[in-house]
């Protein structure tokens, strides 16, 4: 019996965002946009979904006079991401 893949993470853009955030302390919205190549609107929607699931936290503030949105993965997000990767590995090893 294979573990079910987390539907929230099994989406290209959300998975890319989680992959970036899993390797850093926190990341700016502009950095995520540049790394994923997504549009601002699309990225905002996906970030909202990850935030609602408790996988990431979003902090809005200012750096100097410029508005800054910072995203950070939560412990629940780290766990979900690890489980997702483990599940993928199981799928792949079963397919060999």
């Amino acid at each position: 019996m294979f573990p079910k893949l987390d539907p929230l993470l099994h989406s290209e853009l959300r998975l890319a965002v989680m992959s970036i955030l899993a390797g850093v302390d926190e990341a700016d919205f502009t950095y995520l946009k540049k790394q994923t190549g997504a549009t601002s609107g699309n990225l905002s929607v996906q970030i909202d979904k990850l935030t609602a699931a408790g996988y990431i936290t979003v902090e809005k503030g200012f750096k100097g006079k410029m508005p800054r949105t910072t995203c950070k993965i939560t412990p629940a997000g780290q766990e979900a991401f690890s489980k997702y990767v483990e599940a993928l590995k199981e799928y792949l090893s079963a397919g060999k």
Binding site: A22, Y31, V45
Partner: protein, 191 residues
Amino acid sequence: MEQNKEMTAQESLQLISNTFNNSRKEILRGSAKYFMLWGALLTVTSLVVYLLWHFTTKPQWNFLWFAMPAIGYPLAALIGKHNKAIPQSEVSKMLSGVWSVFGAFAITLSAIAIFLVPMRVSLIIVIMMGLAECMSGVLLKNWPFIIGGFLLGVGGAVFAMLVMGDAQLLIFTLGGVLLLVTGCIMKLQYK
């Protein structure tokens, strides 16, 4: 990038791996700038102090070393401002930590050696510098940096014991070139 694209397990793992690697490369490219900055400053400062000491025979020119952090830290802050959107990873934080600790030891020991207790500060600093370069190599999993740092630390220590006076400074010129080369390799490697 689409949010609803159906992905296979293979594609998902590939996406994770690619995204993670691209992000890692961008972060380490940001760290490379600091290696290049401090490498260039160390090379120039050591050469200037060496030449002035050599041709005037006045060791007081060593006070010029304190100009290095005075110039370097504002420039490093400027690079940090330019890189503000680039996040910190565990590796970039550890690299920054290793070299900050080295800087704090080097500046404090130099000041103590000049004003309080005379000591062979070149010997101590070159060993610490080799160690910091070695540790950077370990963090980046880069054997040339590990070997370069080891040779700088051990070779520099022997050189500092055998050679006296202004010529000792040339080991720091070599150290500066090593940092500069490390930065250039990182910039190219993580392109």
